[in-house]
């Protein structure tokens, strides 16, 4: 176990910010802490690093209890949002500073510097000062600084937020290949769920100091355990249809106005009662227009009217309406769709989620 956190609580004075955090990450995992501003993800990262003391709980890095240790003794490295490169030092010294602090010899520092700078392709930048570097270069240097010490854990606090969209995509793929090459354990904080999904082996979705769900990107996308997670992940957002569950013969039926769905394959946590109010969640790409699917079981389809079409390059985001039911679906932009058109939509019953409207829990 590379990282294990048990029952971690943290308060600033009287205000609790982290409540009962439990995490276990194996060697080589890329764990992403995902959440909106203020959910506590940065604070959690600071606690793992040792920059913030915790109020109670335990933190284990490589099986060693470190919650009483200062960062210097935890063998972790961290990349900050604004990179925090030392402005008065050259890139070379920026990178080797950590080794300098731990008393490595000049030779050791030199070797480590060569190794890291060639890996990140920054050999030409070694004599420059941080202010002479571009955003992407600075990020590489910051990563280099953390690589050079062979830490047990790599921590990253929203390092991509200051890059423009194109650079961000570039750095994402570089980071993925770096992770694959090194096999290091990384804990990455972000508020951007696309970034989280593209980088992570597992994602921890956080809200108000708690972890709502930890799982692989696939699990989080297709089987969210709560309304919060379902709504947080996915662009465009998940469709939510309020309705009721009825027991008919041996199966459960979801009903809203004209929409009646027989839920045969859905795994309920417990058998629902007749008349339970519920929210049906379905992702836009799980709504299939009839034109691309031969008409079959009419029980799964609904005729809807197009209200709005948004072009996003490769996709069309199409908004549909049918008597109180609003849905958004995705289509290839080569399709000709206009507001006012009538389309028959098929609902993929293997891809739905049901939620309790008040609690937000998955049914």
């Amino acid at each position: 176990m590379s990282l294990a956190i048990h029952n971690l609580h943290k308060s600033f004075g009287q205000t609790p910010v982290l409540n009962g955090i439990e995490i276990e990450a194996t060697q080589g995992e890329f764990l992403v802490l995902l959440g909106a501003s203020g959910c506590g993800k940065s604070t959690l990262l600071h606690c793992i690093a040792g920059l913030e003391p915790i109020t109670s709980g335990e933190i284990f890095i490589k099986e060693k209890a470190v919650q009483d240790f200062l960062p210097a003794d935890r063998n972790v490295a961290m990349v900050f949002q604004n990179y925090a490169l030392y402005p008065t030092m050259t890139v070379a010294r920026n990178i080797t500073f950590g080794l300098e602090c731990s008393g490595a010899s000049k030779a050791e520092q030199h070797d480590a510097l060569q190794r890291v700078s060639s890996l990140l392709k920054i050999q030409d930048l070694l004599d420059r000062k941080p202010r002479q570097l571009s955003g992407g270069q600075r990020q590489r240097v910051a990563i280099g600084r953390s690589l050079v010490r062979n830490p047990d854990l790599f921590l990253m606090d929203e390092p991509m937020s200051n890059l423009d969209a194109r650079l961000r995509l570039e750095m994402r793929s570089e980071l993925r290949s770096l992770h694959a090459t090194l096999g290091a354990t990384m804990v990455f904080v972000t508020h951007d769920q696309t970034e989280a999904m593209s980088l992570a082996t597992r994602v921890a979705v956080m809200d108000q100091g708690q972890i709502r769900q930890i799982g692989t990107p696939y699990d989080l996308y297709h089987a969210p355990n709560s309304l919060f997670v379902a709504e947080f992940i996915g662009t465009p957002g998940i469709n939510l249809v309020p309705g009721t569950l009825h027991l008919q013969d041996d199966s459960v039926v979801f009903q809203k106005n004209e929409l009646k769905l027989k839920l045969e394959s859905y795994q309920f946590t417990s058998t629902p009662e007749e008349g339970t109010a519920t929210l049906l969640g379905i992702r836009p790409e799980s709504l299939i227009p009839a034109s691309s699917q031969p008409a079959s079981d009419s029980l799964n389809s609904l005729e809807m009217k197009v209200t709005d079409v948004e072009m996003t390059g490769g996709d069309l985001h199409v908004r549909l309406k049918n008597n109180g039911i609003d849905l958004t679906t995705r289509m290839a932009s080569s399709k000709r769709v206009r507001p006012g058109d009538k389309i028959e939509i098929f609902i993929n019953l293997d891809a739905i989620s049901l939620f309790d409207p008040t609690q937000g829990t998955r049914l």
Binding site: G50, P53, I54, Q67, D68, F69, L70
Partner: protein
């Protein structure tokens, strides 16, 4: 958790010497002087308490009342002069970015000079034998008379004038930087609404600079209480004791008259008076800010 606590301890320990020294040399000494004001100290400090004797003596002394009153006259002139001239100059310089540098140098340089130099310079200019009176007479106006330093009534204003000369630059710096912080869009919309420039300053800019005003007033007020050098250099408190200020009074009683107890009482009254004005003002302003 333990490591963090140890680190906090280390930092607190490293700061302790300074805290101790500050407490001893500032708060400790202040308290000691306050204590002395209640003792019968003469040339040397004594520990024997005699209650409010010195304060009674102080407030039944015509000389002290004159001196104490001078502090408020001088303070009033000083504050009014520095603020009004300083704010007007700052507003004008705000509109002229290019020539500002030359003017700024001219208005600011007196701040670099000590108050002794300030006093000596103005003594030269105001003295009847060397200064203005001499000059005007030389020009032919034989009967021109201007001996403010010899006037019991007006010498204190000479002090104010010299002090304004010294400190206006501070007000200019504070308000200029405050004015530069005003949103450019405010100016643009005022222009569209056809509001005259002076009106913009009076009704829009200045109200936003309340905190700058507060800072300026507090700094100037403390300068008033500390005014010792300039009095010694310009008037020596004269003629007689007409332009004396409490700082000078205290000093004289400490070291010339050998009445430490009395001097301490004067010092205490001096500091308490200013605190009594500044602190409530600060609290009022800070509370307003919180709203």
């Amino acid at each position: 958790m333990k490591g963090h606590f140890q680190q906090k301890l280390l930092i607190a320990a490293a700061l302790t010497p300074t805290v101790l020294v500050a407490v001893y040399f500032i708060w400790g000494f202040g308290a000691a002087t306050a204590y002395l004001s209640f003792t019968d100290s003469g040339f040397l400090p004594s520990k024997k308490l005699i209650g409010l004797f010195h304060y009674q003596k102080l407030f039944s002394s015509a000389r002290w009342w004159n001196t104490y009153g001078n502090m408020f006259i001088y303070g009033g002139v000083y504050l009014l002069g520095c603020l009004s001239i300083g704010i007007v100059i700052a507003a004008m310089l705000d509109r002229l970015p290019k020539s500002a540098i030359i003017y700024r140098t001219i208005y600011l340089y007196p701040l670099a000079l000590s108050l002794v130099i300030t006093g000596l310079a103005w003594q030269w200019v105001l003295s009847p034998t060397t200064g203005l009176q001499h000059l005007i007479r030389e020009l032919g106006f034989e009967s021109f008379s201007f001996n403010i330093l010899g006037s019991s009534e007006y010498a204190i204003y000479a002090l104010g004038g010299a002090a304004i000369w010294h400190s206006t630059g501070l007000v200019i710096v504070l308000f200029l930087s405050g004015m530069k912080g005003i949103d450019v869009d405010l100016w643009r919309s005022a222009q569209i609404d056809r509001i005259p420039t002076w009106r913009v300053y009076a009704s829009i800019v200045l109200p936003q600079l309340r905190s700058t005003l507060m800072t300026a007033i507090v700094l100037l007020a403390f300068n008033v209480v500390r005014s010792f050098d300039i009095v010694v250099a310009l008037t020596k408190g004269g003629p007689g004791n007409a332009s004396e200020l409490p700082a000078l009074y205290a000093y004289e009683f400490y070291f010339v008259r050998g009445k430490i107890g009395q001097g301490s009482a004067a010092a205490v009254v001096m500091v308490v008076s200013i605190m009594a004005i500044v602190l409530p003002y600060l609290i009022y302003e800070l509370r307003k800010r919180k709203q």
